[in-house]
Symmetry: C2
Subunit: 108 residues, 2 copies
């Protein structure tokens, strides 16, 4: 069911998480083969934390669970795009709906 994907030298693949309702990009995090399997099996996003070196499920402490609706992979099969219904206040641990809440000032 899961196609041949290209994981990096640490066994990871980046997963872009997008809001299925309005196509807002919410966050990006990393999966390995096991956390992708867990994501597919449970219908909730599971990742591998590079800093903490452990598995985590989005929302396991905050309750801001991501319910998986569609999973895409790119032409190189080395990046995932996952469309979710975001529960709770949002995806970012800062309280923002999206992790991408800061913008470069291109005028300066």
């Amino acid at each position: 069911m899961i196609p041949e994907l290209k994981y990096d030298d640490k066994g990871l693949i980046p997963a872009i998480i997008q809001d299925v309702k309005n196509n807002e990009v919410l966050m990006m995090a990393y999966m390995n083969a096991t956390s992708l399997e867990q994501t597919v099996k449970t219908g909730k996003t599971h990742f591998w934390s590079r800093s903490r070196q452990k598995y985590w499920m989005k929302g396991e402490t905050s309750g801001n669970v991501q319910h998986v609706r569609e999973i895409y992979y790119d032409c190189d099969a080395d990046t995932l795009l996952i469309k979710v219904e975001q529960a709770g206040a949002g995806a970012c641990h800062t309280g923002h709906r999206t992790c991408f809440y800061r913008k470069l000032d291109l005028e300066k």
Copy 2:
């Protein structure tokens, strides 16, 4: 103008490219500090190719240039989200508008 960003151990940062018109995610590729500077300076996306180990500008051969409208960075400052106007047929070298044209079958 460019904030403190966290590049990985190869000096790279992933850049998610999103269509400014409809929020479709078009592709993901990697930048280093120099290609990000070039992107900001020229208003067209420039990347670092990990496989070819060289700089490339999107559309340099195909003409499918990406005109940069907004650049966001995430809470960890280790991922970019760049909103572009996509020129030409699309972002993917396969001819598709988006590189994420394949979907996992979650029913099986």
